[in-house]
């Protein structure tokens, strides 16, 4: 019996290693200065998907990502770790999408895949921190959702059981299949690349990449269809253009401010216990720590 697991993953600028060139003068992200990485919580999601695959007979894991041509890297990275393949949704019509337009595009792509049993994605991406795309995809597909997952505990053909990590504890919930699950960073880290899979899939490429790369090893793609990463453009999905890209995005950035901490905001303490305790209380009170 087939059981299709789809992971929604995003290639993001590595905002954890921000330098002084991270923002452009106009307040937008300088993507050229930041290395593109696999969104960390999506890797947690991939790990959950791969574990699910090993538990459910006949299960497959495919990764769906929307982004420019180079986002195919995310799909290859997933295949190196155990995913069966992936879909790159790409085209200038998708550019400028906010969470609403993104989730619409992703939902259209998922509909095209036919029967999908479980959709797993990271809770949020480190570039936007909205945590909206997963839930919106569920809404648009009319699927139930379990958010803040830490571990998929059990799964049958009709029911999935998930441990959720909440602010003040954990909760175990079950729900029907199909289901959307969004995964927290507290979930186990993703497994490393597997040597044999890395060698098997190292030439996996989209049509666009193959055209750019030239004529090497072309026979391989005929012999091994798994080396071709599915690439969908706007014409490959059923859509209403007004919900896509910039036109489909009601979110508008009004203004971006640089917040620079200066020495004026610093505070000098003597190292006595009382002052340190006061500082602890202050920091806990304003939620800097705790």
């Amino acid at each position: 019996m087939s059981f299709k697991i789809v992971v929604l993953a995003k290639q993001v600028p590595d905002t954890r290693n921000v330098g002084k060139d991270a923002m452009k003068a106009d307040g937008t992200v300088n993507r050229a200065a930041l290395p593109a990485i696999y969104n960390p919580e999506d890797l947690n999601a991939l790990e959950q998907a791969l574990r699910l695959k090993s538990q459910v007979a006949g299960a497959t894991v495919h990764v769906l990502t929307m982004g420019p041509a180079r986002a195919a890297e995310i799909i290859r990275e997933s295949m190196y770790r155990g995913a069966d393949g992936g879909y790159l949704l790409s085209g200038r019509e998708f550019a400028g999408s906010d969470t609403l337009a993104t989730s619409y595009a992703l939902a259209c792509a998922i509909r095209k895949m036919g029967k999908v049993d479980v959709i797993v994605c990271g809770r949020q991406a480190i570039d936007g921190d909205t945590a909206q795309v997963g839930p919106q995809v569920a809404e648009k597909l009319g699927m139930p959702q379990i958010t803040y997952a830490e571990e998929i505990l059990d799964c049958t053909a009709s029911k999935i059981t998930v441990k959720r990590r909440l602010e003040r504890g954990v909760e175990v919930v079950s729900g029907p299949i199909p289901m959307v699950v969004t995964v927290n960073s507290s979930a186990p880290e993703c497994r490393p690349r597997h040597a044999k899979l890395t060698l098997k899939y190292k030439r996996a490429a989209t049509l666009t990449e193959k055209q750019d790369a030239g004529a090497d090893y072309t026979d391989l793609y005929t012999v091994h269809p798994y080396l071709t990463i599915t690439e969908w453009g706007i014409n490959d999905i059923e859509h209403d253009i007004k919900w896509l890209g910039l036109t489909g995005s009601p979110t508008k950035v009004k203004q971006i401010e640089n917040v620079v901490f200066t020495a004026k905001e610093s505070k000098r303490l003597t190292a006595n216990d009382e002052e340190i305790e006061d500082l602890m209380k202050e920091l806990i009170a304003n939620h800097t720590i705790g």
Partner: protein, 570 residues
């Protein structure tokens, strides 16, 4: 960070001119390419695959093994119910490497291996050791599988090799309380049982690294009434038979504390014979030890790399007298010498490994078909080169690892003596490297015949004929003078014709040859490299080596046979 990507000096070795030959031999001209979806299709594809897998290992080294090293050193393994429980970090390291599917890196694909040459394996060993020298033993014991692959029957291969690729741990159980350096004295008894066709092992082994491993290679006395090496055979035992191999205790060691060193009791342990009876010590253990010595070369070089990185970072950050201490001649000289000894060790490490790769590939081909006379001649030639360089590598790289770890603490000053910095762990971990798998003194015993027969001299003359950039002509001239000093010293010792005198001088002679060979290797690397990574080390090492060679030459020149007596201690 990634221990492969951040170290172009390792990647550089993959571009060596001998690599196409090594890869073609190992891949049997890429015969696997249509049988396995992960097999290499041609030379470029193979090198790309090595790099991709080394990058995976390099990432595990930097992200998991190195951060775990401190707690592993602190916690160490425990014995519970006669079994070993690894430290938490050790288990985590092993699980990550298993999950990444990188165990069995050199084994044939038909058994689940990656069929990479030793060069790639040694690179992985160097990186793992840089992350945690103690864990490098657990990673390095997959050497045992190499021996099974070379010498065991097809049935044994099919039983054990796939398990190694799936992360089953290995140990080589050789030494006993009264059989350390002298393995001919091994007493553990192997008895054949006609009824079930199995061998049964009984006795005690001591100082066994990773002693509670799942797959054990055991040297045991199979021939009743014998007392020497010819009565010993080689066995593979499956440690899944609970309560037949008991861990009596784990040694409390100075260093490499994460690597469990065990005392074992064999209690009627079922085992299978590997290869031919009576050949245990003479053939198989010698082969195993040569592989292990190469492994110590990688471990030592990795430790030197870690010692250098720590010292360099500290010297850049630490400020005294108004500036970073790296700006003081006394400090930067120490750093350059650590680096030069590191680069020299690495040059010798991969040169040796390439020779091992060629002869091992021919050895493998020979088990499939008859070699042509040309192939046979080449096989012998590379075997001889590997034999000559392996003890030299083991001795120099381990001595340098110790010297470098010592100097790394010195660069750290008082802080280096505290447990807060990794350099004190490196210092403790390095100490065993000049001792196990044959002490430095025994490496000299293995190397000296290559001095007296002129093998090293011939190799040196060949290196002198390789391409060396014209700008290094003055270095080359100095090396030619050093070579003459070496040749004269060898001639003098040979003329005396006195075994004790030769034994007394042999370390000095082997060191002279080694200094010259490493100087040439660095010069040849510096001539081939387009990134200019080795020029400084080539010069610094030559300066160092030249003084050492002259020192030994002067000592030997004026030292008479009678002078040996003054050193004798009753």
């Amino acid at each position: 960070m990634n221990f492969f990507n951040d170290n172009p000096a390792i990647k550089f070795q993959l571009s060596h001119p001998l690599m196409p030959k090594i890869v073609a031999l190992k891949e049997r001209n890429y015969a696997d390419k249509d049988k396995f979806d992960y097999a290499a299709r041609d030379f470029e594809d193979a090198i790309d695959s090595y790099e991709k897998v080394l990058e995976i290992i390099g990432g595990i080294c930097s992200d998991i093994i190195a951060p775990n090293a401190e707690s592993v050193d602190h916690d160490g393994p425990q014995v519970e119910n006669s079994r070993v429980i690894y430290a938490r970090g050790t288990q985590e390291n092993h699980d990550a490497l298993t999950q990444a599917g990188v165990y069995g890196i050199t084994l044939p694909r038909q058994y689940g291996g990656l069929n990479f040459p030793m060069v790639a394996y040694v690179m992985s060993g160097e990186m793992v050791s840089r992350a945690d020298a103690g864990f490098a033993n657990i990673w390095g014991l997959q050497d045992c599988a190499e021996t099974i692959s070379e010498f065991a029957s097809d049935e044994i291969k099919a039983e054990f090799l796939p398990r190694v690729c799936e992360g089953a741990t290995c140990s080589m159980d050789l030494t006993e309380p009264d059989a350390g350096s002298d393995l001919q004295a091994v007493q553990l008894k192997a008895t054949f049982n006609e009824a079930d066709g199995m061998w049964y092992l009984n006795g005690v082994k001591r100082f066994i690294t990773n002693g509670d491993a799942q797959i054990k290679l055991v040297l045991a006395r199979s021939e009743d009434g014998t007392t020497d090496g010819r009565g010993l055979s080689y066995f593979v035992a499956d440690n899944k038979h609970d309560h037949t191999v008991l861990v009596r205790r784990i040694e409390n060691k100075l260093g490499i504390k994460g690597s469990p060193t065990c005392e074992l009791v064999f209690n009627n342990t079922p085992a299978q014979l590997v290869g031919t009876r009576r050949m245990g010590l003479i053939k198989y253990v010698m082969s195993l030890m040569n592989g292990a010595r190469l492994g110590i070369g990688a471990q030592s070089t990795g430790l030197s790399a870690a010692a250098y990185t720590e010292a360099l970072n500290y010297a850049r950050e630490r400020r005294q007298f108004g500036k970073a201490i790296i700006e003081f001649p006394a400090v930067y000289e120490m750093l350059s010498i650590i680096k030069a000894k590191l680069d020299a060790s690495r040059a010798l490490l991969y040169e040796t490994t390439r020779f091992v790769d060629v002869y091992k590939a021919y050895e493998g081909i020979e088990s499939e078909r008859k070699l042509t006379p040309e192939e046979k001649a080449e096989f012998k030639e590379y075997l001889k080169l590997a034999d000559a360089l392996t003890p030299m590598l083991k001795m120099f790289s381990s001595e340098y690892a110790n010297q470098n770890a010592y100097d790394s603490i010195q660069v750290h000053g008082g802080s280096g003596f505290m447990k807060d910095y990794a350099c004190e762990r490196h210092f403790r971990d390095a100490r065993i490297m000049t001792i196990y798998e044959g002490t430095s003194q025994l490496q000299v015993v293995a190397a000296i015949r290559h001095v007296t027969t002129g093998n090293y001299l011939k190799m040196i003359r060949d290196y002198d004929n390789q391409y060396i950039k014209p700008e290094f002509t003055s270095f080359r001239k100095r090396l030619q003078i050093m070579t003459n000093l070496f040749a004269n010293a060898v001639a003098r010792v040979n003329e005396v014709k006195n075994q004790e005198y030769l034994d007394f001088q042999s370390r000095r002679l082997v060191e002279m040859g080694g200094h010259i060979i490493m100087s040439y290797l660095l010069l040849i690397d510096a001539s081939r490299d387009t990134e200019d990574q080795f020029r400084k080390s080539a010069e610094v090492y030559l300066n160092f080596a030249e003084v050492e060679v002259r020192r030994h030459a002067a000592f030997i020149k004026t030292f008479e046979v009678d002078n040996v007596d003054v050193y004798k201690v009753q």
